[in-house]
C-alpha cells in the first residue's frame, strides 16, 4: 500500500518538476493546487501507512539515523528531504501561479529527490539477499517506472479535466506503461526461469547425504517467521493475477493514455481517469504479488524445497 500510493505521489512530483523545468506545464494556480494536494496526500498517506507497520511507530524518527548502511533509513531521509524543495515549489505554483526561475529549480530538486526516494524503496527490497524474487536487477527499474507511470497518469487526469491537456504528459504516461509492461514481463520470466542458489541442502549443509526433507517442524503452531514470510496467499492464483495486473496496470493505461495524446475534451478526461484508476488497481495487484511470490530462504528450514 505504502509503496503504491507514495510511488504515485512521488511520480507526480517528478512530472511536475520536469514540467516546470521544461516550461511544459504553465503555472496555472488551480491546476497547481489540485496537483500538489493530490501528490502530497498520496505521499503522506503512504508514509503514514508505513508507520502503521512499525511495532513502535513513536520511535520512527530514529530511522533517519543510519543512512550510511540502511536503504530503509535512506528512504526515510529522502522522503523527508523531498519536502524541503517541494514546499516552496508547491506554494509558489498553487498560490501565486509561479513556477519558473528559482521555483523551477526547486521543482527539479523535488523531482530528483522524489525519484531518489522511490529508488531507495526499490533498493530496500533489491538489497535483501535471502529473497531471490527481490534480489535482482528488475526490481528497482520496476519501482521507478511504475511511480512515473502512475504519477504521469494522475497529472494527465488533472490536465485533461481542466482543458489544459499536454500531449507530452500523456505520452510520458503511455510510454512508462509500455516500459513497465516490458519490465514486469521480464521480471516474471526471470523469476520463473531462475532459482535461488540456496536449497534445503545448502541451508542444512547436509548435501553429502542427498535429498533433504523436513521430517518434523520445530513447533506445531505458526510462529512469527511463518506468518511474516510464508504466506502463500496469492501464489495459487499467481498466473491469473499476473494477467490481471498486466492488463489493468499497464495495457489499459497504455491504450487510454495513448488515446489522450491525440484526443481532448470530456471523452479524453474520462479516458485519462479510467487509465489512472486502472493503473492503481493493477499496480496494487502487482505489489501484492511481489510480496506473495517472494520466497524467503527461511522457508527452506520449514519444508520449502525452493527459495
Amino acid at each position: 500500500m505504502f509503496t503504491v500510493t507514495s510511488g504515485a505521489g512521488y511520480g507526480m512530483l517528478a512530472v511536475l518538476g520536469y514540467g516546470a523545468a521544461t516550461r511544459l506545464l504553465q503555472p496555472n494556480a488551480k491546476f497547481g493546487l489540485a496537483a500538489f494536494a493530490l501528490a502530497l496526500a498520496l505521499v503522506v498517506a503512504g508514509l503514514l501507512s508505513s508507520l502503521l507497520h512499525l511495532g513502535r511507530p513513536e520511535r520512527s524518527w530514529r530511522a533517519m539515523s543510519q543512512w550510511r548502511s540502511s536503504w530503509l533509513s535512506r528512504e526515510g531521509s529522502m522522503a523527508l528531504l523531498t519536502f524541503v524543495p517541494t514546499l516552496p515549489f508547491a506554494v509558489a505554483w498553487s498560490l501565486f501561479g509561479e513556477n519558473s526561475g528559482l521555483f523551477a529549480l526547486c521543482g527539479v530538486l523535488a523531482g530528483i529527490l522524489a525519484l531518489a526516494t522511490v529508488f531507495c524503496t526499490g533498493m530496500i527490497y533489491a538489497s535483501l539477499k535471502p529473497i531471490h524474487q527481490w534480489h535482482n536487477r528488475w526490481v528497482v527499474p520496476g519501482y521507478l517506472v511504475m511511480a512515473i507511470m502512475t504519477g504521469a497518469l494522475w497529472i494527465n487526469v488533472l490536465l485533461q479535466s481542466r482543458g489544459l491537456s499536454r500531449p507530452s504528459v500523456a505520452a510520458i504516461a503511455a510510454g512508462a506503461a509500455l516500459v513497465g509492461m516490458v519490465l514486469k514481463i521480464g521480471y516474471w520470466r526471470y523469476v520463473d526461469t531462475s532459482s535461488a542458489r540456496s536449497t534445503p541442502q545448502t541451508a542444512t549443509g547436509l548435501d553429502q547425504f542427498g535429498k533433504v526433507t523436513l521430517l518434523d517442524p520445530p513447533h506445531t503452531q505458526e510462529n512469527f517467521l511463518l506468518r511474516e514470510m510464508g504466506y502463500r496467499l496469492a501464489r495459487k492464483h499467481a498466473w491469473q493475477l499476473r494477467r490481471i495486473s498486466l492488463s489493468f496496470g499497464f495495457f489499459v493505461p497504455f491504450v487510454l493514455a495513448g488515446l489522450t495524446v491525440a484526443v481532448t475534451g470530456r471523452f479524453a478526461t474520462i479516458a485519462a481517469l479510467i487509465a489512472a484508476v486502472s493503473a492503481i488497481v493493477g499496480v496494487l495487484i502487482e505489489r501484492w504479488l511481489f510480496f506473495a511470490e517472494a520466497k524467503h530462504t527461511v522457508m527452506l528450514y520449514y519444508g520449502g524445497n525452493k527459495a
Binding site: 530511522a63 530503509l72 541451508a203 547425504f209 542427498g210 526433507t213 511474516e228 520449514y302
Partner: protein
C-alpha cells in the same frame, strides 16, 4: 551504529553444534526460553500459551530433517539459532542503529530501547534467527546468553550459554572461533565443521559438525566382525577329557 565494527577484535564467540550426536530432545530450546524469558531481552512473550494456538518468541528452534532417500535415509536433528555472522545484513539494514555487532566479541544484539519494530532485519536474515515480539513491538534474538557468559555471579563452569550447559549429550560447544587454537576451532578443524548457506556470504560464526559416516559394515564400530566362542564346549565330553582341557588351558 548499524555499520559493522571497523576494527573487530578478532574474537568471535559462537557455538559449534554437532549434528552427529544431537538427539533432538529440544532441551536446549527449552533451557534457552527459560533463561532468556528473564534475561537481557526479557520477556519472550507468549500468546495463548496454554491454548490450542500457542505462539511466542523463541531464540532456538529444533528442526528435524530426513537426509538421503530409501535405506540410506537418516534422521538429523538440527538446532538453529542466531549464527552471529561476521557480515550480518540484519545489522546493516537496521534504520535506527538498534541492531549492532559488538566489536569486542562479535555478538549480534538488538538495543530494544531504540528498535522501531520495522522487521526489516528479520527479512534480511536468511536463517530466520530473529523473531518479532508483537507485545513489546521490538525485534528479539539470541544474545549468546551475554548475561551468562560474562556473569561473575555465576560459577565459572556455568558461564556458557544456557543451551550449551543443558545439552544432555554434549552436542553443543561454546567458545572463541576467532582463535584457531581454541577447543571449538580445533573441533571444527578436525570434524570438518561448516557454514550454513555459505553462498549468501554472511560468514556465520556458528559452525555445524556433520554427522559421521554411518557404520553399516560389521566391524566398523570397533567391535570384532563376529563373536568368537568364548570357550570350547566340552560339556558332552567325559570327565577325563574335561580334566585334560582344564589342565592344558592353564
Amino acid at each position: 551504529m548499524t555499520s559493522l565494527p571497523a576494527l573487530p577484535s578478532g574474537r568471535k564467540l559462537g557455538l559449534v553444534i554437532d549434528l552427529d550426536i544431537c538427539v533432538g530432545c529440544h532441551a536446549c530450546a527449552v533451557s534457552c526460553k527459560e533463561w532468556n524469558a528473564g534475561g537481557h531481552s526479557a520477556p519472550l512473550t507468549d500468546f495463548d500459551p496454554y491454548g490450542s494456538d500457542a505462539t511466542g518468541v523463541w531464540f532456538n528452534r529444533i528442526h528435524s530433517f530426513e537426509a538421503g532417500e530409501g535405506a540410506d535415509a537418516r534422521a538429523i536433528h538440527f538446532p538453529k539459532s542466531c549464527l552471529h555472522c561476521e557480515t550480518p545484513d540484519c545489522v546493516t539494514v537496521c534504520p535506527t542503529g538498534a541492531s549492532y555487532k559488538r566489536a569486542e566479541d562479535g555478538i549480534v544484539l538488538v538495543n530494544a530501547d531504540i528498535c522501531i519494530g520495522c522487521k526489516l532485519c528479520a527479512w534480511a536474515c536468511p536463517y530466520g534467527a530473529r523473531e518479532f515480539d508483537a507485545d513489546d513491538g521490538v525485534m528479539k534474538k539470541c544474545t549468546l546468553c551475554i548475561d551468562r557468559i560474562y556473569n561473575e555471579n555465576l560459577e565459572e563452569v556455568d558461564r556458557v550459554p544456557a543451551c550449551v550447559s543443558v545439552c544432555p549429550v554434549g552436542a553443543r560447544h561454546f567458545g572463541d572461533l576467532g582463535d584457531s587454537n581454541s577447543p571449538v576451532s580445533q573441533l571444527v578443524a578436525s570434524r570438518g565443521g561448516y557454514d550454513l548457506m555459505p553462498e549468501l556470504g554472511y560468514r556465520p560464526v556458528n559452525k555445524y559438525l556433520p554427522p559421521r559416516p554411518r557404520k553399516t559394515e560389521p566391524g566398523c564400530t570397533g567391535a570384532p566382525a563376529a563373536l568368537a566362542p568364548t570357550e570350547d564346549d566340552f560339556n558332552g565330553a567325559g570327565l577325563l577329557l574335561r580334566w585334560m582341557d582344564r589342565l592344558l588351558s592353564r
